[in-house]
Symmetry: C2
Subunit: 198 residues, 2 copies
């Protein structure tokens, strides 16, 4: 097999869920029928990998120092929603009419993996809560064990700064990933979120 | 969402079997954990799309005018194996001890889709058979209706030039794709190939 083709098949395996056979199929498909699409993908990858960084406010992916959502004057800065991943933020944005701001953890507390508050940017979140503008912190971590532990930590952090912690209504399937919940359920859960007490 | 990210997600959908949700997942995965892998993929794609052409002898993908297999002195030029796709050729090469040469159709006869002998390079194959070096033509098209029709045409072409047509032994699952047959079955089928008579 051509060395370039072998390199392409090998490089495609960096994609999640793509093994040797799928990578082969993708490479042949591109060479056979989608050379222009393959070139466009090459350019899009290079641009995205090199130029997408993180928003200095919400930590979501952004190609500008502050992302459009954080920079928008029409969003409600008094409500801040914390999510585990950019995909969660996107799912909420697409499914609900939430107009507040976001904070992206890029993970969840997981001491055994060495992921503590610092790795999730929670020092920065604390500083932000201390500024006094945020009134409510919606904790939208996943309903998994680690997500719940993270939610507990975030609720305490909020209370320390006099901010009301809340979370989306139960109804999210336990053990599942927020990213994959159907829009109706997610929207309902956002609408009937409840305060965290105790 | 970042425009560059949207472009990346869109560009990823050129890959076979990748829809909006998978593309999103892939893009986030690369940004989050595999930036170097993403850059390598970008380079591999660009190199492959621009520099991989077709071998002038066997029509398989090649980055040189004649591919290494066709250029090799250690292959038996008296036996020529015709396959539908480069993936089929690769499967045979990996599963069997076949040491002859290949001819890749890049498709199969399909008059309704406007795919005739010319589109499959069969004029070039005819010229090659007329040269007299080839003694046996192994017709390894897929056991589908169109593949069988193509095999029939190829057998006639071989006989016209005094070349013995053969095909791999039955045992290949009907209606399936040669590319996905397990190695043992494929190897057995190659070992007990039979002449095409009548």
């Amino acid at each position: 097999m051509s060395a370039l083709l072998e390199q392409l098949i090998d490089a495609l395996r960096v994609l999640p869920g793509v093994g040797q056979k799928s990578a082969q199929r993708m490479a042949y498909h591109l060479l056979e029928r989608q050379r222009d699409g393959g070139r466009r993908l090459s350019e899009a990858l290079e641009a995205a990998m090199s130029r997408i960084g993180n928003c200095g406010r919400c930590r979501d992916f952004s190609e500008t120092p502050v992302c459009p959502v954080c920079a928008s004057a029409s969003r409600d800065a008094q409500v801040l929603c914390v999510v585990e991943t950019p995909a969660d933020r996107l799912a909420i944005e697409q499914a609900t009419d939430f107009r507040g701001l976001y904070f992206v953890l890029h993970g969840r507390l997981s001491p055994l993996d060495g992921i503590g508050p610092r790795e999730l940017g929670l020092d920065g979140l604390g500083t932000r809560l201390a500024e006094g503008e945020v009134r409510e912190l919606i904790v939208a971590t996943n309903p998994t064990v680690e997500g719940e532990a993270t939610a507990h930590y975030l609720a305490q952090l909020a209370r320390q700064h006099g901010v009301r912690p809340s979370r989306p209504a139960h109804g999210l399937p336990l053990g599942g990933e927020l990213e994959y919940v159907d829009r109706g359920t997610l929207s309902h859960a956002f609408g009937s979120r409840s305060d965290i007490t105790g």
